[in-house]
Amino acid sequence: AGCSSETTPQAPPKKAALVIAQGGLGDESYNDLAMSGFTAATKEKGVEGQHIESSDVVAQGEQLLRRAGTSGYGLVIDLEFSHGEILPTIAAAYPNVQWAFLNNKIDGPNIASVLFAEHDGSYLAGALAAMMTTQTGNPKINADKKIGVIGGTKSVGIDKFLSGYIQGAKDVDQSIEVLTAYSNTFGDPTKGSQLAETMFQQGADIVYHVAGGAGAGVIEAAKKNNRYAIGVDDNQDKLAPGFVLTSVLKRADLGVRRVVDAYADNKPLGGQVINLGLADGAVGLTDFEFTKNEIPETVRTKVDELKQKIISGQLKVWNVIDQGYPAWLQG
């Protein structure tokens, strides 16, 4: 694949690797999003990029990262959470390589960490859903004060989203009921559609999914039942225009982009913690491309107010990862 004859070979080309997390590519969320950021950034910056998947990414972590360290890569971005503990040792063994880790803060002179405030974005979605579920002028909405959320697995990483969502809803109206369920799979859309359909039958009219590929089924179910879904990670509004109320963005792509850009531009990265949240637009809601007309102005204003409060620090959303489980969500 090397066609370096066109460019004048000065320094060896910069090389970056992206280690894909469990679930692999095709999860329609985290991995795919990070991958898209990686592809775009490496192309733009003329960096040679490779991604690595493994069905045994947990156990192969050490061998894999070491191999990457010895294979001429200047930057290695690791998406797999379970590699957190081994990364410092490996990074120390390969001091000339720049390492980056997502979703957790890892210390090391040549390690950059990227963190996301997913709970903040989910909080806004919960608040929005709570305000919407009583807008009975809308044919997709019933009078019940019920909304739903579906997680991919029962784990703190996912419950961080769920907890924020429930908190947001309850802060709007204590009496709102939030149905929760887990699909136990990130790959089976049938399961997602099944769970969503049940929630719709139980009276929910807005269901938020944090379930990757299984979530695709949630969105299909919303379309079929004339209800709303809320997407996650990427902007999923266009998957079923008008039936996806909004999506809670977690722009892993932006995080990856930042890291690749800095590396390509020879900017310092080591030891940095990149916090991405509402303020950066890396987390948040979409701008309601297809549902603008269905969401009353007042509601949109209220959501914006909440967003500003969080950014300013006036409002603090519960973070399951640091704080453990809150009263409104069982651990």
Binding site: Q22, Q50, Q63, K154, G331
Partner: protein, 335 residues
């Protein structure tokens, strides 16, 4: 004289039979690669380099082979007793969870023992059901894998979850309770020695111990064994318990040596690959070692090969699935 010729020929044909599935897989994989515009020879060369090209890569291959040594051996023992145990996966996973949890509080040795016991717990019921009521073990052990997956998931999130970790995971085990590394810095743990020791023990034990004899006879012909006074029910149960213990021990060794905790994605199906390892190795000790190294090499090389090529990892599944299918075929008609 003719007896000699016969045994030579079977030895030769046995080796040949073990190589053929591998060749078929390479040809089939080659066709897929060619059809999608890749050069199979280059890719296979890359695979070989990534599997065996240097101390670090050999360490990686052995490391990937280690869990397969445990699961392959656990499977082979049950198969030898005529019990088609496909539940080694469950024992491995449960052993990993319990091993990791116990080691957290009570140290390395306790963790290993607890892991083995956890594996025993998983295999005991199907074994007893088979021995006592002749309940088809293929189905019960297969079903048990799913049950164990559910129960471990629940145990982790409900009771054993580490704080501040985004995955379903137990807390990190303190370094003092890890299985020591063999070849620092290459991350090959002493688990591989434990596994090899057990395989060697199996080789001698199955052939030369009284219980090994009873186990072999039960597997070859249960009615015969029962009529000569071998307590086949007990043999079946014990073989399942040993199989489970080794599976669980493998899980604990994986937790204490490699992952240092129990976490989502702990086993990508080591138990199922173990079935292929046992069958490819015809349930013999040497065969299990070779089979584990083969599948370990495919796994480790397949992953790092991506650093040097654009070929999707899934091709490795095509290769190992094909090896599995053809591992057990009879390639010519017995005349």
């Amino acid at each position: 004289m003719s007896v000699f010729a016969g045994s030579n020929r079977t030895k030769y044909s046995r080796a040949f039979r073990a190589v053929v599935p591998f060749l078929i897989a390479l040809v089939l994989g080659g066709i897929v690669l060619l059809a999608t515009g890749h050069n199979p020879l280059d890719f296979y060369q890359l695979l070989v380099r990534e599997a065996f090209g240097g101390t670090d890569r050999i360490a990686a291959t052995l490391s990937a082979a280690t869990p397969l040594l445990f699961t392959g051996l656990a499977t082979a023992i049950a198969f030898r007793a005529g019990v088609f145990n496909v539940g080694v996966e469950g024992g491995f996973v449960f052993g990993g969870l319990i091993g990791a949890t116990v080691a957290l509080h009570a140290g390395l040795l306790a963790g290993m023992v607890a892991g083995a016991l956890a594996g025993v717990l998983v295999s005991a019921l199907p074994g007893w059901l088979k021995a006592r009521w002749n309940v088809d073990e293929v189905v019960t052990t297969l079903m048990f894998n799913f049950v164990v997956a559910g129960v471990t998931g629940w145990l982790v999130t409900a009771f054993l979850q580490a704080k501040g970790v985004a995955n379903s995971a137990t807390p990190l085990i303190p370094q003092s309770s890890w299985l020591p590394d063999l070849l620092p810095p290459y991350g090959l743990t002493s688990a591989v020695l434990i596994a090899l020791a057990f395989v060697a023990l199996y080789a001698v034990w199955i052939k030369h111990s009284v219980f090994g004899y009873e186990l072999r006879q039960t597997g070859l012909n249960t009615r015969f064994a029962a009529a000569q006074g071998i307590r086949v029910g007990r043999v079946i149960v014990v073989s399942m318990l040993i199989s489970g213990a080794i599976a669980g021990l493998g899980g604990a060794a994986h937790a204490l040596g490699v992952v240092h905790r129990f976490v989502d994605g702990f086993s990508p199906g080591y138990g199922f690959t173990g079935i292929a390892v046992a069958l490819l190795g015809r349930n013999s000790a040497v065969g299990v070692v070779l089979g584990a190294i083969l599948f370990g090499a495919l796994a480790s090389a397949g992953t790092t090969a991506q650093l040097f090529s654009d070929i999707p990892l899934d091709i490795v599944d095509v290769l190992s699935g094909t090896v599995m299918i053809f591992a057990v075929v009879r390639l010519w008609r017995q005349r």
